[in-house]
Symmetry: C2
Subunit: 204 residues, 2 copies
Protein backbone atom coordinates (compact mmCIF):
# COMPACT_ATOMS: atom_id res chain seq x y z
CA UNK A 1 0.00 0.00 0.00
CA UNK A 2 1.17 3.49 -0.74
CA UNK A 3 2.67 5.20 2.31
CA UNK A 4 3.60 8.68 3.43
CA UNK A 5 7.11 8.41 4.82
CA UNK A 6 9.00 11.02 6.81
CA UNK A 7 12.72 10.49 6.36
CA UNK A 8 15.23 12.64 8.18
CA UNK A 9 18.69 12.72 9.71
CA UNK A 10 18.87 14.14 13.22
CA UNK A 11 21.47 14.66 15.91
CA UNK A 12 21.04 12.61 19.12
CA UNK A 13 19.23 15.59 20.61
CA UNK A 14 16.78 15.72 17.73
CA UNK A 15 17.98 18.61 15.58
CA UNK A 16 17.89 18.32 11.79
CA UNK A 17 19.79 21.58 11.26
CA UNK A 18 21.56 24.23 13.27
CA UNK A 19 20.72 27.89 13.15
CA UNK A 20 21.86 30.32 10.43
CA UNK A 21 21.43 28.47 7.16
CA UNK A 22 23.36 30.03 4.28
CA UNK A 23 24.12 28.96 0.75
CA UNK A 24 27.48 27.65 1.95
CA UNK A 25 25.96 25.88 4.94
CA UNK A 26 22.65 24.26 3.98
CA UNK A 27 22.29 22.84 7.50
CA UNK A 28 23.34 25.99 9.33
CA UNK A 29 25.72 25.84 12.24
CA UNK A 30 26.19 22.11 12.58
CA UNK A 31 29.23 22.41 14.80
CA UNK A 32 31.60 21.53 12.00
CA UNK A 33 34.23 23.71 10.39
CA UNK A 34 31.93 24.56 7.48
CA UNK A 35 33.81 22.35 5.05
CA UNK A 36 31.34 19.53 5.02
CA UNK A 37 27.95 18.28 5.98
CA UNK A 38 28.36 16.67 9.38
CA UNK A 39 24.76 15.56 9.74
CA UNK A 40 24.93 13.59 6.51
CA UNK A 41 28.50 12.32 6.77
CA UNK A 42 27.06 8.81 7.18
CA UNK A 43 25.65 9.07 3.65
CA UNK A 44 28.69 10.52 1.94
CA UNK A 45 31.60 9.02 3.91
CA UNK A 46 30.20 5.51 4.37
CA UNK A 47 27.91 4.91 1.38
CA UNK A 48 28.49 1.15 1.18
CA UNK A 49 27.52 0.60 4.79
CA UNK A 50 24.31 2.53 4.33
CA UNK A 51 23.27 1.63 0.82
CA UNK A 52 20.04 -0.06 1.89
CA UNK A 53 18.79 3.04 3.70
CA UNK A 54 19.76 5.40 0.89
CA UNK A 55 18.09 3.15 -1.69
CA UNK A 56 14.97 2.99 0.43
CA UNK A 57 14.98 6.77 0.63
CA UNK A 58 15.25 7.08 -3.15
CA UNK A 59 12.48 4.57 -3.79
CA UNK A 60 9.64 7.03 -3.17
CA UNK A 61 7.77 8.05 -6.31
CA UNK A 62 7.17 11.65 -5.21
CA UNK A 63 8.80 13.92 -2.66
CA UNK A 64 7.72 16.86 -0.54
CA UNK A 65 10.12 19.32 1.06
CA UNK A 66 10.09 22.65 2.84
CA UNK A 67 11.42 25.84 1.35
CA UNK A 68 14.55 25.76 3.54
CA UNK A 69 15.42 22.29 2.39
CA UNK A 70 15.12 23.49 -1.21
CA UNK A 71 17.35 26.49 -0.73
CA UNK A 72 18.50 29.53 1.21
CA UNK A 73 16.50 32.01 -0.90
CA UNK A 74 13.77 33.65 1.20
CA UNK A 75 10.76 35.68 0.14
CA UNK A 76 10.08 36.11 -3.57
CA UNK A 77 12.10 34.03 -6.05
CA UNK A 78 14.23 37.04 -6.91
CA UNK A 79 17.32 35.14 -7.95
CA UNK A 80 17.92 31.88 -9.81
CA UNK A 81 17.81 28.86 -7.51
CA UNK A 82 17.11 25.26 -8.45
CA UNK A 83 18.04 23.44 -5.28
CA UNK A 84 21.33 22.38 -3.70
CA UNK A 85 21.77 19.38 -5.94
CA UNK A 86 23.06 20.63 -9.28
CA UNK A 87 21.56 19.81 -12.68
CA UNK A 88 20.71 16.20 -11.89
CA UNK A 89 19.13 16.05 -8.41
CA UNK A 90 18.94 12.64 -6.73
CA UNK A 91 15.14 12.49 -6.65
CA UNK A 92 14.38 11.41 -10.26
CA UNK A 93 10.72 12.09 -9.54
CA UNK A 94 8.38 15.01 -8.90
CA UNK A 95 9.35 17.11 -5.88
CA UNK A 96 6.78 19.40 -4.27
CA UNK A 97 8.32 22.39 -2.54
CA UNK A 98 6.24 24.18 0.10
CA UNK A 99 6.50 27.95 -0.30
CA UNK A 100 4.48 31.11 0.12
CA UNK A 101 5.67 32.40 -3.26
CA UNK A 102 4.28 31.02 -6.51
CA UNK A 103 6.69 29.85 -9.17
CA UNK A 104 6.46 27.84 -12.38
CA UNK A 105 7.54 24.19 -12.21
CA UNK A 106 11.16 23.55 -13.09
CA UNK A 107 12.30 20.37 -14.81
CA UNK A 108 15.80 19.16 -14.13
CA UNK A 109 17.89 16.38 -15.65
CA UNK A 110 17.23 12.79 -14.64
CA UNK A 111 13.49 13.07 -14.16
CA UNK A 112 13.32 15.49 -11.25
CA UNK A 113 10.75 18.25 -11.56
CA UNK A 114 10.34 20.84 -8.84
CA UNK A 115 6.76 21.97 -8.30
CA UNK A 116 6.03 24.91 -6.02
CA UNK A 117 3.00 24.58 -3.77
CA UNK A 118 1.61 27.68 -2.11
CA UNK A 119 -1.55 26.30 -0.51
CA UNK A 120 -0.18 24.15 2.27
CA UNK A 121 0.68 20.58 3.21
CA UNK A 122 -2.67 18.97 2.46
CA UNK A 123 -2.61 20.26 -1.08
CA UNK A 124 1.04 19.28 -1.49
CA UNK A 125 0.23 15.76 -0.31
CA UNK A 126 -2.73 15.42 -2.66
CA UNK A 127 -0.57 16.50 -5.60
CA UNK A 128 2.29 14.24 -4.53
CA UNK A 129 -0.02 11.24 -4.14
CA UNK A 130 -1.43 11.80 -7.58
CA UNK A 131 2.06 12.14 -9.04
CA UNK A 132 3.31 9.03 -7.23
CA UNK A 133 0.82 6.84 -9.09
CA UNK A 134 0.33 4.41 -6.22
CA UNK A 135 3.93 4.64 -5.02
CA UNK A 136 5.16 6.05 -1.73
CA UNK A 137 5.44 9.74 -0.97
CA UNK A 138 8.48 10.84 1.03
CA UNK A 139 8.49 13.92 3.20
CA UNK A 140 12.15 14.80 2.95
CA UNK A 141 12.36 17.52 5.55
CA UNK A 142 13.38 19.71 7.12
CA UNK A 143 12.11 19.06 10.59
CA UNK A 144 9.63 21.95 10.42
CA UNK A 145 7.94 20.37 7.44
CA UNK A 146 7.95 16.89 8.94
CA UNK A 147 6.55 18.31 12.18
CA UNK A 148 3.62 19.75 10.23
CA UNK A 149 2.83 16.38 8.66
CA UNK A 150 3.18 14.55 12.00
CA UNK A 151 0.99 17.07 13.81
CA UNK A 152 -1.67 16.77 11.11
CA UNK A 153 -1.71 12.97 11.40
CA UNK A 154 -0.68 12.61 7.75
CA UNK A 155 2.43 10.43 8.17
CA UNK A 156 2.45 6.64 8.08
CA UNK A 157 6.10 5.99 8.75
CA UNK A 158 9.02 7.81 10.32
CA UNK A 159 12.57 6.90 9.34
CA UNK A 160 15.21 8.44 11.55
CA UNK A 161 18.92 8.46 10.94
CA UNK A 162 20.43 9.41 14.29
CA UNK A 163 24.00 10.69 14.23
CA UNK A 164 26.40 10.68 17.19
CA UNK A 165 26.62 14.27 18.31
CA UNK A 166 24.35 16.90 19.78
CA UNK A 167 23.70 20.34 18.34
CA UNK A 168 21.96 21.98 21.28
CA UNK A 169 20.08 24.45 19.06
CA UNK A 170 18.43 24.69 15.67
CA UNK A 171 15.42 23.13 14.03
CA UNK A 172 14.13 20.30 16.20
CA UNK A 173 12.13 17.28 15.16
CA UNK A 174 8.85 16.86 17.13
CA UNK A 175 8.85 20.50 18.28
CA UNK A 176 5.24 21.51 18.72
CA UNK A 177 3.96 18.10 17.65
CA UNK A 178 1.33 16.56 19.98
CA UNK A 179 2.48 13.31 21.66
CA UNK A 180 2.76 10.46 19.17
CA UNK A 181 2.32 6.73 19.54
CA UNK A 182 4.83 4.85 17.42
CA UNK A 183 5.64 1.25 16.75
CA UNK A 184 9.21 0.18 16.23
CA UNK A 185 9.58 -1.53 12.89
CA UNK A 186 13.32 -1.93 12.61
CA UNK A 187 16.60 -0.52 13.72
CA UNK A 188 20.13 -0.96 12.55
CA UNK A 189 23.41 0.58 13.48
CA UNK A 190 26.25 1.48 11.13
CA UNK A 191 29.49 3.11 12.17
CA UNK A 192 28.32 6.72 11.90
CA UNK A 193 24.57 6.41 12.35
CA UNK A 194 21.71 4.45 13.87
CA UNK A 195 18.74 3.93 11.58
CA UNK A 196 15.36 3.49 13.27
CA UNK A 197 12.05 3.05 11.47
CA UNK A 198 8.75 3.64 13.23
CA UNK A 199 5.18 3.14 12.16
CA UNK A 200 3.17 6.19 13.21
CA UNK A 201 0.12 4.88 15.07
CA UNK A 202 -1.40 8.21 16.01
CA UNK A 203 -1.07 11.55 17.56
CA UNK A 204 -2.99 10.81 20.75
CA UNK B 1 39.16 0.91 33.42
CA UNK B 2 36.58 2.35 35.72
CA UNK B 3 33.97 4.39 33.86
CA UNK B 4 31.28 6.91 34.64
CA UNK B 5 28.20 5.73 32.79
CA UNK B 6 24.98 7.66 32.23
CA UNK B 7 22.14 5.22 31.75
CA UNK B 8 18.65 6.45 30.97
CA UNK B 9 15.41 5.61 29.21
CA UNK B 10 14.01 8.37 27.02
CA UNK B 11 11.11 8.88 24.65
CA UNK B 12 11.98 9.38 20.97
CA UNK B 13 11.83 13.11 21.59
CA UNK B 14 14.32 12.88 24.44
CA UNK B 15 12.21 13.13 27.57
CA UNK B 16 13.01 10.97 30.60
CA UNK B 17 9.87 11.98 32.46
CA UNK B 18 6.73 13.99 31.91
CA UNK B 19 5.64 16.88 34.10
CA UNK B 20 3.91 16.53 37.46
CA UNK B 21 5.68 13.74 39.28
CA UNK B 22 3.72 12.33 42.21
CA UNK B 23 4.13 9.32 44.47
CA UNK B 24 1.71 7.42 42.26
CA UNK B 25 3.42 8.55 39.06
CA UNK B 26 7.21 8.53 39.48
CA UNK B 27 7.65 9.62 35.88
CA UNK B 28 4.94 12.24 35.86
CA UNK B 29 2.53 12.53 32.98
CA UNK B 30 3.90 9.89 30.63
CA UNK B 31 0.80 9.80 28.49
CA UNK B 32 -0.38 6.53 29.99
CA UNK B 33 -3.44 5.88 32.10
CA UNK B 34 -1.43 6.06 35.31
CA UNK B 35 -1.56 2.31 35.89
CA UNK B 36 1.97 1.57 34.77
CA UNK B 37 5.31 2.89 33.82
CA UNK B 38 5.24 3.40 30.08
CA UNK B 39 8.81 4.57 29.75
CA UNK B 40 10.14 1.41 31.36
CA UNK B 41 7.67 -1.08 29.92
CA UNK B 42 10.57 -2.56 27.95
CA UNK B 43 12.19 -3.57 31.23
CA UNK B 44 9.15 -4.98 32.95
CA UNK B 45 7.10 -6.39 30.08
CA UNK B 46 9.94 -7.89 28.04
CA UNK B 47 12.68 -8.76 30.57
CA UNK B 48 14.04 -11.74 28.65
CA UNK B 49 14.59 -9.72 25.49
CA UNK B 50 16.46 -7.05 27.40
CA UNK B 51 18.32 -9.03 30.01
CA UNK B 52 21.76 -8.03 28.71
CA UNK B 53 21.02 -4.32 29.05
CA UNK B 54 19.47 -4.67 32.50
CA UNK B 55 22.40 -6.77 33.70
CA UNK B 56 24.82 -4.22 32.35
CA UNK B 57 22.94 -1.50 34.20
CA UNK B 58 23.14 -3.44 37.45
CA UNK B 59 26.86 -4.14 37.07
CA UNK B 60 27.95 -0.71 38.32
CA UNK B 61 29.54 -0.76 41.76
CA UNK B 62 28.11 2.58 42.85
CA UNK B 63 25.19 4.70 41.69
CA UNK B 64 24.33 8.39 41.65
CA UNK B 65 20.83 9.76 41.26
CA UNK B 66 18.94 13.01 41.55
CA UNK B 67 16.46 13.75 44.27
CA UNK B 68 13.48 13.32 41.93
CA UNK B 69 14.62 9.89 40.91
CA UNK B 70 14.85 8.95 44.57
CA UNK B 71 11.39 10.17 45.41
CA UNK B 72 8.61 12.72 45.26
CA UNK B 73 9.41 14.29 48.65
CA UNK B 74 10.57 17.89 48.20
CA UNK B 75 12.34 20.21 50.62
CA UNK B 76 13.28 18.85 54.06
CA UNK B 77 12.97 15.10 54.68
CA UNK B 78 9.81 15.66 56.67
CA UNK B 79 8.25 12.30 56.04
CA UNK B 80 9.64 8.76 55.77
CA UNK B 81 10.87 7.97 52.26
CA UNK B 82 13.39 5.32 51.24
CA UNK B 83 13.00 5.29 47.48
CA UNK B 84 10.47 3.80 45.09
CA UNK B 85 11.91 0.30 45.27
CA UNK B 86 10.71 -1.25 48.54
CA UNK B 87 12.91 -2.88 51.16
CA UNK B 88 15.31 -4.52 48.70
CA UNK B 89 16.20 -2.00 46.00
CA UNK B 90 17.78 -3.35 42.80
CA UNK B 91 21.10 -1.54 43.26
CA UNK B 92 22.84 -3.83 45.79
CA UNK B 93 25.52 -1.17 46.14
CA UNK B 94 25.99 2.35 47.52
CA UNK B 95 23.65 4.91 45.97
CA UNK B 96 24.48 8.60 46.26
CA UNK B 97 21.41 10.83 46.17
CA UNK B 98 21.90 14.49 45.24
CA UNK B 99 19.87 16.73 47.54
CA UNK B 100 19.99 20.15 49.19
CA UNK B 101 18.87 18.64 52.50
CA UNK B 102 21.23 16.64 54.68
CA UNK B 103 20.14 13.23 55.91
CA UNK B 104 21.82 10.24 57.55
CA UNK B 105 22.68 7.28 55.30
CA UNK B 106 20.03 4.61 55.12
CA UNK B 107 20.89 0.92 54.68
CA UNK B 108 18.38 -1.26 52.92
CA UNK B 109 18.21 -5.01 52.38
CA UNK B 110 20.39 -6.61 49.74
CA UNK B 111 23.38 -4.33 50.08
CA UNK B 112 21.89 -1.03 48.94
CA UNK B 113 22.77 1.97 51.10
CA UNK B 114 21.43 5.41 50.27
CA UNK B 115 23.85 8.24 50.98
CA UNK B 116 22.66 11.83 50.76
CA UNK B 117 25.06 14.30 49.18
CA UNK B 118 24.48 18.01 49.68
CA UNK B 119 27.61 19.47 48.11
CA UNK B 120 27.06 18.78 44.42
CA UNK B 121 27.94 16.42 41.62
CA UNK B 122 31.72 16.55 41.91
CA UNK B 123 31.59 15.53 45.54
CA UNK B 124 29.01 12.84 44.77
CA UNK B 125 31.26 11.46 42.05
CA UNK B 126 34.33 11.42 44.30
CA UNK B 127 32.39 9.54 46.95
CA UNK B 128 30.90 7.13 44.42
CA UNK B 129 34.29 6.42 42.86
CA UNK B 130 35.76 5.69 46.27
CA UNK B 131 32.82 3.42 47.11
CA UNK B 132 33.02 1.62 43.74
CA UNK B 133 36.51 0.36 44.51
CA UNK B 134 37.68 0.46 40.92
CA UNK B 135 34.31 -0.53 39.46
CA UNK B 136 32.05 1.59 37.29
CA UNK B 137 29.87 4.40 38.57
CA UNK B 138 26.42 4.69 37.02
CA UNK B 139 24.55 7.98 36.86
CA UNK B 140 21.03 6.65 36.96
CA UNK B 141 19.10 9.80 36.22
CA UNK B 142 16.89 11.64 35.91
CA UNK B 143 17.79 13.67 32.88
CA UNK B 144 18.49 16.79 34.95
CA UNK B 145 21.19 14.94 36.86
CA UNK B 146 22.67 13.36 33.75
CA UNK B 147 22.65 16.75 32.02
CA UNK B 148 24.76 18.15 34.87
CA UNK B 149 27.34 15.38 34.50
CA UNK B 150 27.43 15.73 30.71
CA UNK B 151 27.78 19.51 30.88
CA UNK B 152 30.63 19.18 33.37
CA UNK B 153 32.48 16.73 31.12
CA UNK B 154 32.34 14.03 33.81
CA UNK B 155 30.68 11.23 31.81
CA UNK B 156 32.56 8.55 29.85
CA UNK B 157 29.64 6.67 28.39
CA UNK B 158 26.00 7.32 27.59
CA UNK B 159 23.56 4.41 27.37
CA UNK B 160 20.21 5.35 25.94
CA UNK B 161 17.12 3.21 25.88
CA UNK B 162 14.84 4.91 23.37
CA UNK B 163 11.15 4.00 23.55
CA UNK B 164 8.66 4.38 20.71
CA UNK B 165 6.52 7.33 21.65
CA UNK B 166 6.95 11.05 22.19
CA UNK B 167 6.02 12.97 25.33
CA UNK B 168 6.25 16.53 24.02
CA UNK B 169 6.98 17.97 27.46
CA UNK B 170 8.80 17.15 30.67
CA UNK B 171 12.41 16.69 31.66
CA UNK B 172 14.57 16.52 28.56
CA UNK B 173 17.93 14.88 28.12
CA UNK B 174 20.63 17.25 26.76
CA UNK B 175 18.65 20.38 27.76
CA UNK B 176 21.19 23.09 28.50
CA UNK B 177 24.13 20.81 27.75
CA UNK B 178 26.77 22.28 25.41
CA UNK B 179 27.15 20.37 22.12
CA UNK B 180 28.69 16.94 22.62
CA UNK B 181 30.85 14.80 20.41
CA UNK B 182 29.95 11.14 20.77
CA UNK B 183 31.15 7.89 19.28
CA UNK B 184 28.70 5.12 18.59
CA UNK B 185 29.73 1.98 20.41
CA UNK B 186 26.77 -0.30 19.85
CA UNK B 187 23.09 -0.34 19.16
CA UNK B 188 20.47 -3.02 19.35
CA UNK B 189 16.77 -3.07 18.89
CA UNK B 190 14.26 -5.09 20.89
CA UNK B 191 10.53 -5.04 20.38
CA UNK B 192 9.78 -2.12 22.71
CA UNK B 193 13.07 -0.23 22.75
CA UNK B 194 16.24 0.64 20.88
CA UNK B 195 19.40 0.52 22.98
CA UNK B 196 22.25 2.78 21.86
CA UNK B 197 25.57 3.17 23.64
CA UNK B 198 27.85 6.13 23.00
CA UNK B 199 31.31 6.98 24.19
CA UNK B 200 31.36 10.63 25.24
CA UNK B 201 34.33 12.22 23.48
CA UNK B 202 33.84 15.75 24.71
CA UNK B 203 31.66 18.71 25.15
CA UNK B 204 33.18 20.87 22.41
Amino acid sequence: MSKVICDITVSVDGYSAGHDQTEERPFGDDGGDGSGNRLHAWMFDTPDENRAEVDRMAAARAFIMGRNMFGPVRGAWDRPWNGWWGDDPPFHAPVFVLTHHAREPRSMDGGTTFHFVTDGITSALAQARAAAGGGDVAIQGGANTINQFLAAGLADELRLHVVPFTLGAGTRLFEGVPPLELEQVSSRSASLVTHVTYRVLSPR
